[in-house]
């Protein structure tokens, strides 16, 4: 008798121990996955956060040298100001930082501390403040990428001069400006507002954010109604026969097609046969819709299938038509699931790069697109483009763009969770 009890206890201990081991394996697996996510986020964040502020250099601009009386600016139209010749005037304003330098070569080096668009920045300042310009105005000009990176500490100063982009004399100028308190940081609003640029300090993700939003909008408009209606038909109305089986298999296949194939399809048919404008969010959206449709259809069908049949019967039994039963009772219950599927599909589309490369959304686009018919970049393609550039400024901007992309994805997934929580039918 006692033997049997002992045996039982031994066997129970064995089972409990194996359960403990099993739990440790599970926790280990989860920690491993989580660690990689953390490393990824840390890596991106640590190299990307500095793109959200930029270095500016304070310059006193003597507008009186440009015109006899600064009140005259208020009477000039924007076009007049555009026509003003300001290049040498702007350069002279910068030379005033170091009045002692005489040599042309040094002056050139000084000018190169600033972004190439310094003249344009002074002009813009003039345009937006033309009604009350003083004799001398203090303007914060964008520093060049090299200065920006040195200031942020991303650039090694101790290399030999011929291995650096920034020269010794420029470092002397820069350190002097720092000592005089003329160098400062500001929030990098232009990074969020502007399109791409060949100058790292001027390049922004504004164009690709807008491009991505337009693309997602096109995807939403196309694939949401088509996906929902296709799913409702297949799940509720289609006769169960070989044709619908065949369609079902192919929708599942469509979900597994590599995305680049959709890009080829877009290139071959949408661009070359139908002649829609190249490089545009419209075409990108159409191509990504094809990719998103199966996701939406599959998710919607699953949530339609999860609606208890008794609800359909209840509606039919009071004399509702099949369509009424479906639209009044089944679809509302399935909607949160369908919306979740749609958002997840959209999130996938937002991060998709390959098909966009083929339809030309990889073009270098300086302007922020105004409509879905304008040439545009998108966030993931922007990452791809900048990751190939050598300049230091693009390195941090690549990471910052990834941060924005991840931010949008997290927001969308959060929205999916919230929608599901809020509208889920409680039985």
């Amino acid at each position: 008798m006692t033997d049997r009890i002992e045996q039982r206890i031994n066997s129970l201990n064995k089972r409990l121990n194996s359960e403990k081991r099993f739990r440790i394996y599970c926790i280990g697996a989860m920690s491993f996955a989580l660690a990689w996510v953390l490393i990824l986020f840390l890596n991106i964040f640590s190299s990307g956060y500095s793109a959200f502020y930029r270095t500016v250099i304070q310059v006193d601009v003597p507008f009186l040298n440009l015109i006899e009386d600064t009140t005259q600016f208020s009477e000039m139209s924007s076009e007049d100001i555009n026509n003003l010749s300001m290049y040498s005037f702007s350069k002279k304003a910068i030379y005033r930082l170091f009045p002692d330098i005489e040599e042309k070569k040094d002056k050139k080096m000084l000018i190169r501390l600033f972004s190439i668009e310094f003249e344009q920045e002074i002009r813009e300042f003039l345009k937006s403040n033309k009604s009350n310009i003083n004799e001398t105005e203090t303007i914060y000009l964008t520093a060049s990428d090299d200065v920006d990176q040195v200031n942020k500490g991303n650039y090694p100063r101790d290399l030999d001069e011929d291995k650096r982009r920034i020269k010794d004399i420029q470092l002397l100028f820069f350190d002097d400006l720092v000592d005089r308190g003329l160098v400062s940081y500001e929030f990098n609003l232009p990074f969020l507002m502007r399109g791409d640029s060949r100058e790292p300090e001027l390049a922004g993700v504004g164009g690709s954010i807008v491009g991505s939003l337009f693309t997602i909008l096109v995807v939403l408009i196309l694939s949401f109604p088509i996906g929902i209606f296709a799913a409702i038909y297949l799940e509720e109305f289609a006769p169960k026969n070989r044709v619908t089986d065949f369609i079902e298999i192919n929708i599942n296949n469509l979900a597994a097609v590599p995305s680049i194939v959709f890009g080829l399809l877009g290139l071959g048919i949408i661009l070359n046969t139908f002649g829609l404008p190249r490089s545009t969010p419209l075409v990108g959206g159409i191509v990504l819709s094809l990719m998103t449709l199966p996701t939406i259809i599959i998710a919607t069908r699953a949530s339609l299938r999860a609606v208890p049949p008794s609800i359909r019967e209840g509606a039919l039994a009071v004399g509702a038509t099949k369509m009424q039963a479906v639209m009044h009772h089944v679809v509302p219950v399935a909607m949160p699931g369908a919306l979740t599927g749609t958002i997840i599909g959209l999130a996938q589309a937002l991060g998709e790069t390959a098909p966009l490369l083929l339809i030309g959304m990889v073009a270098f686009v300086v302007d922020v697109p105004q409509t879905p018919l304008d040439a545009s970049a998108s966030l993931p393609v922007q990452v791809y483009l900048w990751s190939e550039s050598a300049e230091r400024g693009y390195v941090e901007k690549t990471s910052a763009t990834i941060m924005m992309l991840l931010g949008f994805l997290i927001l969308m997934n959060l929205a999916a969770v919230l929608i599901r929580r809020k509208f889920e039918t409680k039985w």
Partner: protein, 253 residues
């Protein structure tokens, strides 16, 4: 002898290759409760679902034979099934209120049939239906609460109110009490007693006591065949078929 409301004649039902009902012929009297009993899988639910053509939903289901309600063949090509179901309401085994408010649950039927012209008419129908289903007093203060928040017995009475709301002649009940506790069951049985003054009721039940308590006529199904149908007292006191005898004495099923 009451007048005959429903008449099934030589009814055969198939699910694909499998035959579920064999040559069922019976009639049901107006404003009476007819009970259908039999072991699981005997075809009684299949039969009752033929009476409002709920079997149409199942693709592979095929019905042969004739069912007449008030002398009209309900499987005739010109019969509109939505109209039929307006006249033949149904209450299911598991309470299945819509996941909407109590009011909306009852108002849905009248609304889709356009029975109520004004909002006040609709409200009146809802109140009357809930009263007839003996639910009104319990829910009158919370008509906007979800129908699914009610208890099982209340949900089932809500489903009865929903069936009544379109003013049918016939109410089919497919094991309406099988998911309920004895007290809720007693309330529904009591309710059936009230309802039969206005409606013809057909009830499928597993409980022979229930059949004996509520019905005036009882049919016994076995393996897809209608073995016997007679006055309830006759079935329970003096069945003519051996299988009925065995079933009601608890020897199988």
């Amino acid at each position: 002898m009451k007048s005959i409301k429903i008449k099934a004649d030589n009814l055969n039902v198939y699910y694909g290759e499998k035959q579920a009902l064999f040559e069922v012929s019976m009639y049901m009297e107006e404003k009476q409760v007819t009970a259908l009993i039999g072991p699981s899988g005997c075809g009684k639910s299949t039969f009752i679902r033929c009476l409002n053509r709920m079997n149409d939903v199942i693709d592979i289901c095929k019905v042969q034979g004739k069912i007449e309600i008030d002398g009209n063949d309900i499987y005739a090509p010109d019969m509109q099934v939505e109209q039929l179901r307006e006249r033949v309401g149904m209450v299911f085994q598991k309470p299945n209120p819509f996941p909407k408010s109590i009011f909306e649950n009852v108002a849905y039927g009248p609304r889709i049939h356009g029975i109520a012209e004004h909002k006040s008419d609709l409200e009146e129908i809802v109140v009357t239906s809930l009263k007839k289903a003996a639910l009104f007093d319990e829910v009158k203060d919370r008509l906007s609460d979800s129908g699914t928040s009610l208890s099982g017995g209340q949900q089932q009475r809500l489903c009865i109110a929903r069936a009544i709301s379109v003013n049918p002649d016939i109410i089919l009940m497919d094991e309406p009490c099988s998911a309920l506790d004895p007290i809720a069951t007693a309330r529904i049985e009591e309710l059936m007693g009230d309802l039969k003054t206005e409606y013809t009721i057909i009830i499928v039940t597993h409980s022979m006591q229930q059949a004996a308590r509520v019905s005036s006529r009882t049919g016994f199904f076995h393996l897809g065949k209608l073995v016997e149908v007679d006055k309830t007292e006759a079935i329970f006191s003096n069945p003519s078929d051996q299988r009925t005898q065995d079933y009601i004495t608890g020897r199988f099923g």
